[in-house]
């Protein structure tokens, strides 16, 4: 398949033998994103349940403070070209795992007797990594490689953890809520962006 920067139209590819594999990969990645969207919602619900009220109460709205290395999808995200959207999706998914690990570390101290929450956080980090890698594969196959290489922000993330812990338990709870919320937003966004690539018709 010819590498065309920015080209994301599988139908324009002359290499017929690679097209079914690419379509299959896109479908598979989209299915994964859809599944993780559901898991991310469950993680968020479980998280707020174990932090106590007012977390989880309707109308609870802590300040949406910035998180190291990651922000929410911008309002104009949907208006960007699809390759750019997918690159942002991949980058966000790569930034999430160390943040989820930080949250898991906090929760291991705050809620040591809730192994299910700890397991969900651990799974979420692994799943975000997997989905990010899958999106990057799709981008590469379509000739619209993600900008990178990405390095997991381990040093700064550790510093973020230290800062959050030093600031107190309540800020650590808020950080966890923010990270779980960002995870949910980004997998949902990725699922939406990939849906535009999925060929019509049965798999």
């Amino acid at each position: 398949m010819s590498q065309r920067e920015g080209s994301l139209d599988p139908q324009a590819d002359d290499s017929v033998s690679l097209l079914p594999h690419l379509e299959a990969k896109i479908r598979q990645t989209h299915s994964l994103a859809r599944l993780l969207t559901k898991y991310a919602e469950q993680l968020l619900q479980e998280y707020v349940q174990h932090q106590g009220d007012p977390f989880g109460l309707p109308g609870f709205s802590p300040p949406r403070l910035p998180v190291a290395g990651l922000s929410a999808p911008a309002p104009g995200h949907a208006g960007l070209p699809l390759p750019e959207r997918l690159r942002l999706d991949a980058a966000a998914l790569a930034a999430l795992p160390p943040l989820l690990d930080v949250v898991r570390g906090h929760q291991a101290e705050l809620n040591p007797r809730v192994p299910r929450l700890l397991r969900r956080l651990e799974d979420a980090a692994r799943q975000a990594r997997a989905l990010g890698a899958a999106v990057e594969t799709v981008l590469a196959a379509l000739g619209a490689a993600a900008r990178g290489p990405w390095h997991e922000p381990s040093a700064a993330t550790a510093a973020a953890a230290a800062a959050a812990s030093a600031a107190g338990v309540f800020p650590a709870k808020v950080l966890g809520l923010r990270v779980c919320g960002l995870y949910s937003e980004w997998v949902s966004r990725t699922e939406g962006d990939l849906s535009q690539l999925v060929p019509e018709g049965p798999a």
């Binding site: 106590g52 007012p54 910035p66 290395g69 930034a95 809620n111 030093a166 107190g168 338990v169």
Partner: protein
């Protein structure tokens, strides 16, 4: 991309910012930010730990831009519920104080959420309260070793249990006269307060074992348990438990099993226990002191009934240890049914006496019909139930003699017999008291077909005697002329 300006904590990050790589640290709540126009606050104390019933004095100090942001309009919530205004007071222009008395235990282990809000409800700062009790001394430590390869211990977490705080339990152990303290690492193996030591255990020397409980308010240590591994050995349940009928005996089942193979080289004696119950009952009957045998016969059971049977083992006296070991778990239930009784009456093996006339069951009706036929067709009259009852008495005597021969114990001597038993061998080792021989006024379980055959035989004998003797039989029955 992160928005806003980083707080002081964030400024400790040193890496130059490529896109989406960590630039800034989280601007945590409580860190003042300049120039943003937003208010932040600091709650003091931050994350205090308190005893149940104690009081708390807290403050929320607002930092804002422009300066002089007032504390008026601020309010507190605790676990999402707004606190009454009378608990708060304005200390100064930027500080709101709170006084809480007689605190209850924390609602969740992650801490109660005390939050300071601006007048519009937005969150300015938060602090988590930990209200609880120090741990009490753990007690009731019990340990056992599975086949002398490991040690598992269990304990009870103090008299009141609930401390409302996360309490960490640590099982410690050491050799009694030397060695360093060791800490168990595999927790919650057989329940929430348990730990498993998988290896590197010494035999023939005592260990000291204790539990330390620690939480934010203090610590407590259990009494020390001293034990030798050899004295707390248990094993897997006896394998291959088989339950079978004993020929046609309707009130007995034979139980056989194999001694646990894991201890066969450790010079131990084993004692066993059997328990059994009727299928639809929850009441187990236990047979003790089965001693060192691997079979047993249960007697006095109900005919035609499904029984569940389990066996467990106690490997005492390992390597000459004088103490009893620990009973194993019960084996998986094995089911078998006793043969159905071919005699009338409820359950066949029931021992309840019956008063009054013999019951007029279907066999008795058949016999009456038979006798009626005899009267009509065999030229014998007055062949009465007296002869029939005499025959019954003979049957009872025959039944009692058979029970004694087979070693089924009379009442009061349960569990002590060693006899050949009936078919299949093995010792009888318990069960219900066997049925006493019923009186003639009671119904007698019998085989109806055998009864008919015997009845026919007797009737023919009487008739023959009548015919031979010219009208009077030896039993006194009057024959028609």
């Amino acid at each position: 991309m992160p928005a806003g300006r980083p707080g002081p904590a964030a400024q400790s990050a040193r890496r130059p910012p490529p896109p989406l790589l960590p630039l800034l640290l989280l601007c945590v709540l409580g860190a003042p930010r300049a120039g943003s126009g937003a208010h932040t606050a600091v709650i003091s104390p931050q994350d205090p730990t308190l005893l149940i019933g104690s009081s708390l004095q807290a403050t929320c100090s607002v930092h804002g831009d422009p300066p002089g942001t007032t504390a008026e309009g601020l309010y507190w919530t605790l676990n999402g519920r707004r606190l009454p205004p009378e608990l708060s007071r304005v200390l100064n222009a930027s500080t709101l104080a709170l006084a809480l008395a007689n605190l209850n235990g924390s609602r969740q282990q992650s801490g109660d959420n005390l939050v300071c809000h601006a007048h519009d409800g937005s969150i300015l700062a938060g602090s988590c309260l930990y209200v609880g009790l120090p741990p009490e001394k753990p007690f009731n430590i019990s340990c056992w070793s599975k086949n002398m390869k490991d040690l598992t211990c269990r304990w009870t977490p103090g008299a009141h249990g609930e401390t409302f705080l996360h309490t960490n339990y640590s099982l410690k152990y050491k050799l009694r006269w030397y060695g360093q303290d060791n800490t168990c690492e595999e927790y919650h193996t057989v329940g929430p307060h348990s730990c498993h030591i998988p290896k590197d255990l010494a035999l023939f020397t005592p260990y000291e074992i204790w539990v330390e409980a620690t939480n934010r308010l203090g610590s407590a240590r259990s009494d020390v348990l001293t034990l030798d591994i050899l004295d707390v050995v248990t094993t897997d349940p006896p394998p291959d438990v088989h339950v079978s009928r004993v020929g046609g005996l309707e009130d007995q089942l034979s139980v056989r099993w194999v001694s646990p193979p894991a201890l066969k080289d450790f010079l131990f004696q084993a004692k066993y226990q059997i328990r059994y119950r009727v299928e639809d009952s929850v009441d187990w009957k236990v047979v003790d002191d089965v001693s060192n045998q691997t079979s047993c016969r249960l007697a006095g059971l109900k005919p035609g009934t499904v029984y569940f049977v389990q066996v467990r083992c106690n490997p005492f006296g390992i390597y000459g240890s004088k103490k009893a070991g620990i009973w194993s778990e019960w084996s998986h239930p094995t089911a078998a049914s006793t043969p159905r009784s071919e005699r009338p009456g409820p359950g066949g093996g029931a021992c309840e006496p019956r008063g009054g006339e013999p019951s007029s069951g279907p066999v008795r009706r058949e016999l009456k019909q038979f006798l009626g036929w005899l009267k009509k067709h065999a030229y014998c009259s007055n062949l009465s139930f007296r002869l029939y009852d005499q025959w019954r008495a003979w049957m009872q005597k025959s039944h009692k003699t058979r029970n004694q021969d087979e070693g089924i114990l009379p009442s009061g001597r349960r569990g002590a017999a060693r006899g050949k038993g009936g078919p299949g061998g093995g010792s009888v080792c318990g069960g219900r008291k066997p049925c006493p021989a019923p009186s003639t006024s009671e119904s007698l379980p019998w085989n109806p077909f055998l009864l008919l055959l015997i009845g026919i035989d007797l009737a023919l004998t009487v008739c023959l005697a009548c015919n031979v003797a010219g009208g009077r039989s030896s039993s006194g029955t009057t024959c028609p002329s």
